[in-house]
């Protein structure tokens, strides 16, 4: 695939690329989700021909495809652009009823989306295989040709026109025209364009961040243009305006999107003409920028629906129409012009009202009444939307309240009047606040002829907690997060160092004994020097005695400063205590930092799970089974890196469950199960772990054939086979040998790539287990650490070296007397609580140089750490158990290579490097050792 990147080296494009990747991921996800809905609808169509296709769905998909098209065009990804364009055409044709959506169509679009995802994926990682999407493109083209809906490569403007039409679900083509640029005389070109009302706050804040940056860039660019301009600058401006448009349209801010679109048009014309932007035009553009900035600021503060974009749009269109006309921003002139031709292109003054009709409770056939009201409304003006929707009304019998929005040139009274039909208790019509009339007398808010008080049932605006600002966000490079994580890890190590230093100081400062001894000594000397000690008096001459006393006095004097210093030292004990308090404080802070940094990397698993709807659907369709995917715990958060890594293993597992686990509908029926099988994906916390379960209610594992297969492959000895429990047999499917079986489906289906799954999960320091019941189903449980960076470990001393082993793998620690160690088949084993556990010295399992790790186990008593993985156990002989510690995992492969039996390294408090044992690999090494010695 060749991307004709317009100017890859430009920083501008570089910065856009990141945004593009982010946004295209979101758009593709949304497209996929919508397509699944559409697919369901197509399937239900086979049963019930009466259903109408959800127009909003098609519109939404069209918009998503369109956004993607625009973004890719901006960055010069022609292939993506072409394909999205085709997809867009399909949805457009479907909207216009030129193309009926069938299974073939959805299938084709699924394919196209896969190709798109692959192409976007290639942008992220250029190393992959080139994506060839010509076949899909041709297929779509054929589809459109067959439907007679083939379109010439539509220009951006065409698509925009179509998009404009899509903005109002009920709009007729003439109105679509009405919001086109030609309608500059219209009082408010943005009238009738409403923002989506339920924009999630976090989307809004993301948009606001991005828009503010873009608007800043736009302002700077425009100001630069006023000085000396170049086509290049204009192109940048164009790109920026497009970006604002794209992101606004993405989250449903249609008004802002439209304004930005017109700004883009204006700039585009300037680029096309390679000409100049007259100063007034720049003025208008700057005003628009300011207006948008204000709008964004309002959105941030949750003040929605009161934007001033309408007048700006009018000025902008005027400027565009008469780029040469000097009086573009001469408002009075325009309003005069408007009054001069009041019935020109559009009705002079149209207002959008929001209305509500409350029916008598227990009114029979209220749905029909509502339909009647809906028809009356249609005569008065353009009904923007109503709730319940038109389709629903036909089916509804009971209805308390019918809501609608209407754009009309009639006053509120005339709208409300005809609605009083039998059974109606109350009618209220109020101007729709999101659509203020841009100028002219503001209609009072309670203009309806009925009290504007809304019944409590009316759903408030989504921003119910008015004034509550959406949380601000910052986009951060993951590299910086990693850096922060590293630093937090270092802090943990430093904390441990402090703690050790403190311990040493404590030992040094513990000199109470010395103080006491010195005090005693000094008292003794004092007595001696003052001659109070009687027993030496008689034996010495007085002068001799005097000189001795003099000497003793001097010693006593010398002793005094020593005493003082030792006393000072003993006061250092207090300081050491304070040091410990400070370290304790540091403990809490560093824990807090570590936790916060880890939280930064946590993302919900939901989006990953959502991908599997598609996987399950494809399998169900391919195999003719009925499979439902149930998802639970999608809010569970995991390390971002872990989520990225989990995709492939989960696909394997879900595919296995749906493909091999679930039986055909007939088989299921025969087994007394519902025809539709269920695959469940669930994530939850358990202790310090995240557990992900993949469950199915299928036929379960066939232990007999697994065992047979394992015997054939020589994975299990004949003698052992007799004694194996079903659970042990089930664990055999993780063996690499079984996965290479020629036709894995023969042995109840499992096994394909299961060893790959296991390896991958173990790379993530996780464990995987399987349990299955014949006829009932299979559960695969993945247990993963909360984060990859920190591992709760047991620290042990083996021959002077410190080793860490994941707490997860430690079953128990026992002390075994030398005499109770037996030798079975040339290998020592110990009996632990009735279980026979092989006793292993680290130096035997792994090849150490010199005498490394050899001394363990010579004493009369051996300390064994019993390590377990997937039902297998071994007892590792250690010299001393040091204790439990949370270690920061450092990769060895980063600077060296992967080492068998070693999962990584960690830095101890004293700065030494400790190795983290890889328990599954260790067990494998021991098994290999046993196998080779048996030969």
């Amino acid at each position: 695939m060749s991307f004709e990147e317009t100017d890859t080296n430009s920083d501008f494009v570089e910065s856009l690329l990141g945004d593009f990747l982010d946004e295209s991921d979101q758009l593709l996800t949304r497209l996929n989700a919508n397509l699944l809905q559409l697919d369901e609808w197509v399937q239900s169509l086979a049963v019930d021909h009466q259903q109408h296709c959800d127009e909003n769905l098609l519109n939404e998909m069209f918009r998503a495809a369109h956004s993607l098209k625009g973004l890719s065009a901006m960055l010069g990804f022609t292939e993506i652009n072409r394909l999205t364009h085709k997809i867009e055409n399909v949805f457009d044709a479907a909207r216009r009823n030129q193309l009926s959506i069938s299974r073939n169509v959805t299938e084709l679009i699924f394919q196209a989306l896969d190709h798109l995802a692959a192409m976007v994926g290639q942008l992220k990682d250029p190393g992959g295989n080139p994506v060839d999407c010509n076949t899909v493109q041709e297929a779509i083209l054929r589809l459109l040709q067959d439907a007679g809906a083939e379109q010439k490569p539509a220009s951006q403007a065409d698509a925009e026109r179509a998009l404009g039409a899509s903005i109002r679900p009920d709009s007729r083509p003439s109105q679509a025209e009405a919001i086109l640029p030609e309608a500059a005389q219209q009082p408010d070109p943005l009238e009738g364009i409403a923002d989506e009302s339920d924009i999630p706050d976090h989307h809004l804040s993301l948009f606001a961040d991005e828009a503010e940056t873009s608007l800043d860039a736009l302002t700077v660019g425009l100001l630069a243009l006023e000085g000396g301009r170049s086509a290049d600058d204009l192109n940048h401006l164009l790109g920026t305006a497009h970006k604002i448009k794209g992101s606004a349209a993405c989250i449903g801010l249609r008004r802002a999107a439209r304004l930005a679109h017109w700004m883009e048009d204006l700039l585009e014309e300037a680029v096309a003409a390679e000409g100049t932007l007259p100063a007034p035009t720049i003025d208008v553009l700057l005003k628009c920028t300011d207006g948008l900035r204000q709008h964004v600021a309002d959105l941030r503060c949750n003040r929605r629906g009161s934007d001033q974009l309408g007048p700006l749009a009018r000025d902008l269109l005027a400027a565009r129409q008469g780029a040469a006309a000097p009086a573009v921003d001469d408002r009075p002139a325009i309003s005069e012009q408007r009054q001069a031709e009041p019935a020109g292109v559009a009705p002079a003054r149209r207002t959008t009202y929001r209305g509500e009709v409350v029916f008598h409770p227990r009114l029979p056939a209220a749905g029909l009444k509502a339909l009647l009201i809906r028809e009356k409304l249609a005569k008065l003006g353009d009904v923007l939307d109503c709730q319940p929707s038109l389709e629903q009304l036909e089916a509804i019998d009971r209805l308390d309240c019918f809501r609608f929005r209407i754009t009309t040139d009639q006053p509120a009274e005339s709208v409300a009047g005809p609605l009083h039909i039998g059974g109606v208790v109350r009618v209220s019509v109020t101007p729709f606040l999101a659509e203020p009339v841009p100028d002219g007398p503001e209609a009072p808010r309670s203009a309806g002829m009925f009290p504007a008080q809304k019944p409590a049932t009316e759903a408030g605006p989504p921003s119910a907690a008015a004034g509550q600002r959406p949380a601000e966000t910052v986009r951060v490079d993951t590299e910086r997060l990693d850096q922060l994580m590293d630093l937090a890890g270092q802090l943990v190590i430093n904390r441990a160092q402090f703690s050790q230093i403190g311990q040493r100081l404590k030992a040094v400062a513990d000199c109470n004994h010395a103080v006491r001894a010195l005090g005693k000594l000094s008292g003794e000397l004092e007595r001696l020097s003052s001659g109070q000690s009687a027993h030496i008096d008689g034996q010495h001459a007085p002068e001799e005695l005097e000189s001795m006393r003099g000497q003793i006095r001097r010693i006593w004097n010398d002793l005094a400063p020593i005493c003082r210093e030792v006393q000072t030292l003993s006061r250092a004990r207090d300081s050491v205590r304070e040091l410990f308090e400070a370290i304790h404080q540091l403990d809490r802070v560093s824990d807090g930092i570590q936790k916060s940094v880890m939280d930064l990397r946590m993302v919900p698993i939901g989006p990953l799970f959502a991908r599997f709807h598609r996987v399950v659907r494809d399998i169900a369709r391919a195999s003719g089974k009925l499979v439902r995917l149930e998802i639970a715990g999608e809010k569970t958060e995991l390390d971002k890196h872990m989520i990225d890594e989990l995709g492939d293993p989960l696909v394997h597992l879900v595919r296995n469950s749906a493909d091999h686990g679930i039986e055909s509908p007939e088989e299921r029926e025969a087994a007394g199960k519902p025809r539709q099988g269920t695959v469940t994906l669930e994530a939850f916390h358990r202790g310090n772990n995240i557990v992900i379960e993949v469950r199915d209610d299928g036929k379960g594992l066939d232990t007999d054939s697994i065992l047979r297969k394992a015997l054939d492959k020589g994975l299990v000895a004949e003698a052992d086979a007799q004694r194996m429990t079903p659970y042990q047999i089930q664990q055999l499917i993780w063996k690499p040998g079984l996965s290479t079986a020629e036709k894995v489906t023969d042995i109840s289906g499992r096994g394909m790539g299961m060893d790959i799954v296991k390896t991958k999960i173990e790379e993530l320091s996780g464990t995987v287990e399987i349990s299955s019941e014949r006829g009932k189903g299979t559960t695969i449980t993945l247990k993963l650490p909360l984060t990859l960076a920190i591992l709760p470990s047991l620290m042990v001393d083996i021959a002077g070296g410190v080793f860490a082993m994941p707490m997860e793998a430690v079953t128990e620690i026992v002390s075994v007397e030398r005499s109770r160690v037996r030798v079975v088949g040339g290998r020592p084993v110990a009996t632990v609580r009735g279980r026979v556990v092989p006793l292993v010295k680290l130096g035997d399992a792994l090849c150490f140089q010199g005498d490394g790790a050899a001394s363990a186990g010579r004493a009369t008593e051996t300390t064994l750490v019993v390590l377990g993985d997937a039902g297998q156990e071994l007892g590792l002989a250690v010299d001393r158990v040091i204790g439990e510690e949370d270690v920061v995992i450092k990769s060895i492969a980063e600077n060296y290579a992967n080492v068998r039996g070693i999962a990584g390294a960690s830095i101890l408090g004293d700065g030494r490097v400790a190795l983290i044992l890889d328990v599954p690999a260790l067990i494998a090494a021991v098994c290999q050792m046993a196998a080779s010695s048996a030969c």
């Binding site: 140089q849 080492v899 030494r912």
Partner: protein
């Protein structure tokens, strides 16, 4: 654990490179003198505690903690099949950039930083740069010594990318 005694300045090297000369750090292994271009050297540290790693070839001494990064240390004597000796107070670890990796080598002593011109470097004779010794890229005649120029990327390229086998 260690003190940095040399932190080469990159700009200096660039200037030198442009004038057709390069800076080398020379060091001793037994009786032989070797040189590595200064741009490959991150720092030179004292030999601290080295953690042995199982399942590695004999010339991998183990892992050390270099300011919270875990890096492997290679015993260059063992790598060049020279007789093993005890560490002396002169022994140093030279921390090198090899590709994207950081690797330490234990050397008997670090001598000096030299500046040599391209003309002073003669190609290694074929007897030296035979197969298996491609990492010896040249010889520099010093006053009373012959310096063997090492290409660390060739020397450790394999180790850095391939896991060791027993």
């Amino acid at each position: 654990m260690s003190t940095a005694t040399c932190e080469p300045g990159v700009s200096e090297h660039d200037a030198a490179h442009q004038s057709g000369s390069m800076q080398l750090v020379s060091f001793k292994l037994g009786d032989e003198t070797y040189g590595i271009t200064i741009t490959k050297i991150r720092e030179i540290i004292l030999v601290g505690e080295i953690t042995c790693v199982p399942e590695t070839p004999p010339y991998v001494k183990g892992l050390i903690n270099l300011r919270s990064a875990v890096i492997p240390v290679i015993d260059l004597r063992a790598r060049f099949s020279l007789a093993a000796t005890e560490l002396t107070p002169d022994s140093r670890i030279m921390v090198l950039h090899v590709g994207s990796r950081t690797i330490g080598i234990v050397v008997d002593s670090v001598n000096e930083v030299l500046r040599v011109t391209q003309q002073e470097i003669s190609p290694a004779p074929p007897t030296v740069s035979s197969s298996g010794n491609e990492y010896m890229t040249g010889l520099v005649r010093l006053k009373e010594d012959l310096l063997i120029l090492l290409d660390v990327d060739r020397l450790f390229g394999d180790e850095a990318t391939q896991p060791f086998t027993r």
